[in-house]
């Protein structure tokens, strides 16, 4: 693990730093929120315009 010695902030097994890990996570959460919003809107339209739950 020569790379480990070169950057003490990197965490193994992935080799990402904590800041990089949190950046990945932030983007994933934001994508999930956008997906969830669009899905909720689609379900609202399905509720209004289809026989679902009627």
């Amino acid at each position: 693990m020569a790379e480990y010695k070169s950057d003490p902030h990197k965490v193994w097994p992935t080799g990402l730093t904590e800041a990089e890990s949190e950046e990945v996570h932030r983007n994933l959460i934001q994508g999930t929120q956008i997906f969830g919003f669009i899905a909720a809107l689609a379900h609202l339209f399905a509720y209004i315009y289809s026989p679902w739950l009627k």
Binding site: V11, T14, S21, E22, H25
Partner: protein
Amino acid sequence: MIYGKIWCVVKPSVGVPLFLSAVAIGSFLVHLMLLTHTTWVPRFLEGRPAAAVKAASDTGGAPPPPVVAQKSQS
């Protein structure tokens, strides 16, 4: 951010596609089950029968009520 350090132990190249696949497969299966285990989803997607629409337009009467207005069977 809660659980923000998970990508220090799970490779994003493995974890992100796994997460997105789980969401995609889960939602696909829910909608597939709705299609195959209810009567109203296939009927709704089928739309109004073409013969009924043609008969209504020939007689000049009002078209039959749309499928969306029907009560569901299940």
